[in-house]
Symmetry: C2
Subunit: 380 residues, 2 copies
């Protein structure tokens, strides 16, 4: 991914400070920084004290403030030319940010920053260093810009989704009864990485009575005939990722299992089909819940999907109370899950982009209409 | 990893509130929560609004406050029996925390919490909900407890380090001239996962003029004979991880490269050898810097290593100003890096535990004394 410079929606980003009546906006959560700067600095998330900031002023050029050891990466990946650095341990990152803001004449400015991410102690230091400045929370303002993907971003996400889907198809086709959850999950992981991911983001994989675990990793458990296998997996692709769930049978599915899966699959397709510009995020949730009830499926989900981009669960979320008007360019995961009467959990998830008239799938296709079994070939 | 219940150092943890004059300590950063609870909830890091808290009171039993969908995982992995849950979106996690603290009679208590992690907006909500309470920052207090590993934790970390080291040896032995960085890096990733990791944590891999990038991922670049290859990789193993760096030649190393590597390897071994209980963290840094100067190597590192556990870079850090007295049971990475006169970067990293009299390596062994080449068999 490093060869292509990613640029955010500059028109909307540059307009943000004035829209909010601010002198500058500072992006510093891992996802807001990655989106605004186009630079994926691994340590922004992994080594949190090594904070990085992208300053977008109302007037003038943007500035990056980063740890000195990330300079060559920022030059290679990023589009922002003014890069200021601090030395880890010698300097506090907040002091470097303060210095950069003051040089921009913002010592008494009104500044937006990610207060939903900035740690309480960092915020205290920032306020003390800039007592004349006022700080407001712009975490969601940047998230709202991120919600509408650029064509370049859709291409990255589609590539990731299709590569991961392909890895899953190949891995589950190659899987056999008698193998452990781990062997199957590792096969998926190797496929995700082999197909182009930088690494794995998560690999939740469970069978039988472990399937209700929302986020359990594979174990040495051997799925038995008649058991459900479900997984929710993702790879990392620069600042982007994949997030993809499927449900299989270990073989010899019961009538209850086939029926439950087929109903879930119908609800899934119908839910995706009702998405188009103008629909409210919460209405997708209510529609999906109604479909569950019509099918006689037990509905327990707090949400039925989410926007997806540089953040795993972005806003809008398909949940009650989220009144975001869905719009062209949003990239959304729908992911219904249901538990059957015997306690097995089913879960399927597909990614799509909202088009002017509806949606376009970014995975290879919807899951099969009938519950697939391990070893089965699924073609698209 | 899920089959074994991890318990933190309960003696030190339970003593913490009284030591600090507190009524309770709340662990809620991803690493402090994972350590205290023994539960690795993936979404605590990946979906940050879904906060999780482990409350350790001065008197009485500990309590977990988590998102309802993680309940079965918390019961399977964790040792804390009192589990309170909140419903995502319907409840604010901070309100659930407030409720749990109030039920414990702590409405006007003095409470330690991870203010180096808690977002500014969450802290504001917490203070408003509990106006009679006082909050102090205990991020580092729990980190100090984490710094001394339990034997169980050392075993987890040793297992991860050895599995990752083995994956690297096998992958680089199988690598050939003409392959891309990506092919080699994917081989390492597959080995890490195949040897037992849940996934990859990071896979920084660079050759030739890309080697100075601190955290660049593999590209389609094909390493050429006479070029340096360096990588810094890690897998995830429940809440633990591996962190391991090596430097290879793509073949036909120059005299400068062989000499630079051999000197770095000597400095590395000497630095590890000087570590024992009683030495100050910063003294390891100064010793390493002196060795660089004696060898005629250019020294530019802000630190030469770090404690390692549920967090990638834990305190103590081997850096100027860290006056932590190193002690038995600490698990440390030493990772010197140097740039040669032609601009190639070399980097090696090994993990060890401090013993009563010195240290014990947790990797399979130190890197070879002479610069290895891809395709080479290295045995331990």
């Amino acid at each position: 991914m490093t060869a292509m410079k990613f640029k955010p929606n500059l028109e909307r980003l540059n307009a943000l400070p004035k829209q909010r009546g601010l002198d500058a906006v500072v992006a510093m959560s891992p996802e807001n920084f990655a989106y605004v700067s186009g630079v994926f600095i691994l340590t922004v998330g992994l080594i949190r004290p090594r904070q990085a900031y992208a300053i977008v002023p109302a007037e003038g050029d943007p500035t990056l403030v980063i740890c000195s050891i990330e300079t060559s990466l920022a030059k290679e990946e990023g589009w922002i030319e003014d890069i200021r650095t601090y030395t880890e341990f010698a300097d506090d990152p907040i002091d470097a940010l303060t210095d950069a803001l003051q040089r921009k004449g913002l010592a008494s400015g009104k500044i937006g920053i990610d207060l939903d991410y900035l740690p309480a102690t960092s915020f205290e230091r920032l306020q003390k260093a800039m007592p004349q400045a006022r700080f407001v929370n712009t975490t969601d303002d940047i998230a709202k810009i991120r919600a509408i993907k650029t064509p370049q971003e859709v291409a990255f996400l589609e590539n990731a989704a299709k590569q991961t889907h392909r890895a899953v198809l190949d891995a589950m086709m190659a899987s056999r009864l008698g193998e452990t959850e781990r062997v199957m999950a590792d096969r998926i992981a190797n496929g995700i990485i082999g197909n182009g991911a930088d690494g794995t983001l998560f690999l939740c994989f469970a069978s039988g009575d472990r399937t209700p675990q929302a986020h359990g990793y594979a174990t040495e458990r051997v799925p038995q005939p008649g058991e459900i296998i479900r997984f929710d997996v993702g790879g990392t692709y620069g600042q982007w990722a994949s997030d993809f769930a499927r449900t299989y049978s270990a073989g010899n599915p019961t009538a209850l299992q086939r029926d439950t899966y087929a109903k879930l699959r119908k609800v899934h397709a119908a839910t995706i089909d009702m998405v188009k510009p103008g629909v409210l995020a919460e209405d997708v949730f209510f529609f999906c819940r109604d479909q569950f009830q019509k099918m006689g499926l037990k509905f327990t989900m707090p949400h039925v999907g989410h926007s997806f981009g540089v953040e795993l669960h972005e806003n809008p979320m398909l949940r009650p109370g989220d009144k975001t008007v869905l719009a062209e360019g949003m990239v959304i995961n729908v992911e219904p899950a249901v538990m059957d009467e015997e306690g097995a959990m089913y879960h399927i998830e597909d990614l799509f982009v909202i088009t002017p008239t509806g949606h376009r799938l970014l995975t290879l296709g919807l899951p099969p209409e009938e519950l697939p079994s391990i070893g089965q070939t699924i073609t698209y």
